[in-house]
């Protein structure tokens, strides 16, 4: 499986996509991050954007040779087999329940456990940042244990406060900015997930591992 060749194809006139065959696994994603780290250093490359099981590079079409870049992606992918674990560990203190986590009770009801257990089990997990997107600093986290999977709210909220920690289906995540949203909100962190005055501007980077800690519990 690790030797399966990626598919490389153009996206418009200034990007190439390198896509691994399914399924999406943490092992493949590690390879995506390793190739991304290499591609960042290639002269004509402007952006390197990891997705789920894939990555996209953009370049100046007048300066770059797309065929050469495709070849470079292919060999980088080969070299990135058995890429070591990358990224850092980030701890995110969360106030669970109460006004900061208005859906904690509903999630507890759905999962058939006490609200305090939902918080404890959510905080016991280690989550991996597969990639960022949707909003500046929004991390797609893998690793939510199946016992905590909860469908989204039937009525999305018009405004979810920044820092809200939620569960949406099989995923958990943190809203970096106040926005509409349909996830079940179980808590909130005071950490800033995105700050354009900082560099890097995001708290989380692709490949990071996230641990939630219980700062307070209102249950």
């Amino acid at each position: 499986m690790p030797n399966s060749e990626p598919r490389i194809f153009p996206l418009g006139d200034e990007a190439l996509v390198c896509e691994a065959p399914p399924p999406a696994t943490l092992e493949v994603q590690r390879r995506v991050w390793a190739v991304a780290a290499l591609a960042h250093g290639w002269a004509p490359v402007r952006e390197v954007v990891p997705g789920m099981n894939n990555l996209t590079i953009t370049f100046d079409p007048l300066a770059a040779d797309a065929a050469a870049l495709a070849g470079a992606l292919r060999s980088a992918w080969r070299d990135a087999e058995d890429a070591p674990e990358a990224g850092s560990e980030v701890e995110i203190p969360v106030v669970y329940g109460g006004p900061d986590g208005p859906d904690l009770e509903a999630v507890a009801g759905h999962c058939g456990m006490a609200p305090a257990d939902v918080a404890a089990r959510h905080a016991a997990g280690v989550y991996t940042v597969f990639f960022l997107g949707f909003q500046p600093g929004f991390a797609y986290l893998g690793g939510l244990e199946p016992a905590l999977h909860t469908p989204r709210r039937r009525e999305p909220r018009l405004s979810v406060p920044a820092g809200s920690v939620g569960i949406g289906g099989e995923q958990t995540g943190i809203y970096p900015a106040s926005s509409p949203g349909g996830w079940q909100l179980i808590g909130r962190t005071a950490l800033k997930l995105f700050d354009p005055a900082r560099n890097p501007p995001t708290l989380l980077m692709p490949g990071d591992r996230v641990r939630f800690t219980i700062a307070e519990l209102h249950a």
């Binding site: 996206l11 418009g12 996509v17 952006e47 997705g51 997107g133 949707f134 909003q135 500046p136 995001t202």
Partner: protein, 355 residues
């Protein structure tokens, strides 16, 4: 400084955007019609990364307390300076206290106002562009309001300090890009002149097939290239939502999240395509039927709400050639400004000799 007397409905500070942060979910942003901004900055002697104002709806009124030089590019907004009508695509001297009014667009959608030295807001992540969706950059991350004051910077281009661009030097114009042509030169003949009199023409933009093009039905593929797509009023700096024949897929397989870019044409389950623009999110999951070529994005930016768009199939070679043409056009602008400057300098010499 610039005093914003009337801000209009959607006027924002924009430059050429903030590349390098898409992997963190940060859009590149920047002027939708970047070519107009590039020419505007040249006409006032700015560096190409200087910020200007992107104006979407008039009327907009700006007052310049000190003498300076400005340029209006993009579409014609029926502008007046100190009460006199002024041309777009001209380098215009402004006297202290003069007022610039941009009334409204008759054909296109967006105008750009560049001022000598550039709009000086605090750069965020290397750019002064306003990201309205994320609420940062530009002036406090928002559109301008009546009563705002904008600082003017010192973003002059080294080597572009020209006498002809002094606040006291006379106005002069350059050639506008051939924008919003209603036919492409290399298009098959039958595609031109389909409209009877009085019906608006659809603007052709060149498109490369997207990675999921083949997953659409033959009917959908045909409709994609032959329909006139209407730009819905629900369009904004993040995306242009089009309406027409619903585009159906033969294979509705879900996609894993992947990067998307300005120009990417995605088709959500309702079959109505969305062309992503400067402020769009950085990743998506909808199938991509095509991508507008880079060199035609600014034309699309000038299509009016409810206006028509046609997609013309293109090739990577054509996309490259179109970008090269764009670069050549900008070099022509540079040459025209240099020639004008020489002529102005020799006129002044002669005047001094005769005095």
């Amino acid at each position: 400084m610039i005093e914003v007397l009337r801000a209009g409905l959607l006027t924002t500070v924009q430059d050429l955007g903030r590349p390098g942060y898409r992997h963190l979910g940060v859009a590149t942003g920047g002027a939708l019609d970047a070519l107009s901004l590039e020419v505007g900055n040249r006409l006032v002697g700015n560096r190409s990364d200087a910020a200007g104002l992107e104006i979407t709806f008039g009327p907009v009124a700006l007052r310049f307390p000190r003498a300076t030089r400005i340029a209006i590019t993009g579409t014609d907004f029926g502008a007046t300076l100190g009460g006199r009508p002024v041309w777009s695509w001209w380098s215009l001297p402004v006297a202290a206290g003069e007022e610039l009014v941009l009334n409204g667009a008759k054909r296109g959608m967006r105008a750009y106002v560049c001022v000598a030295g550039g709009i000086d807001v605090l750069p965020m992540l290397g750019s002064r562009s306003t990201d309205l969706a994320a609420g940062f950059g530009g002036l406090a991350g928002r559109a301008l309001k009546d009563g705002d004051r904008l600082a003017i910077g010192a973003s002059f281009a080294p080597g572009r300090e020209r006498a002809a661009l002094d606040p006291a030097a006379p106005a002069f114009g350059v050639k506008a890009p051939v924008w919003c042509n209603f036919a492409l030169f290399d298009e098959p003949h039958h595609r031109r002149g389909r409209h009877a009199d009085g019906v608006a023409w659809a603007v052709p933009v060149r498109v490369l097939r997207g990675p999921e093009y083949d997953s659409f039905t033959p009917e959908a593929q045909r409709a994609f290239w032959s329909d006139e797509w209407q730009l819905t009023p629900n369009s904004n700096r993040m995306g242009f939502r089009l309406t027409g024949t619903p585009l159906v897929r033969t294979n509705a397989q879900d996609l894993l999240s992947h990067a998307v870019l300005p120009g990417t044409i995605q088709v959500p389950p309702n079959g109505q395509p969305i062309v992503l623009m400067s402020d769009a999110q950085t990743t998506g999951g909808y199938p991509k039927i095509g991508s507008v070529i880079r060199a035609d994005l600014w034309k699309l930016a000038q299509v009016r709400l409810t206006g028509g768009v046609r997609f013309v199939e293109s090739t990577p070679a054509t996309a490259r050639a179109a970008l090269q043409e764009e670069r050549a056009y900008l070099r022509q602008i540079d040459a025209a400004i240099a020639m004008h400057d020489e002529r102005y300098a020799s006129q002044r010499l002669r005047a001094a000799a005769n005095a």
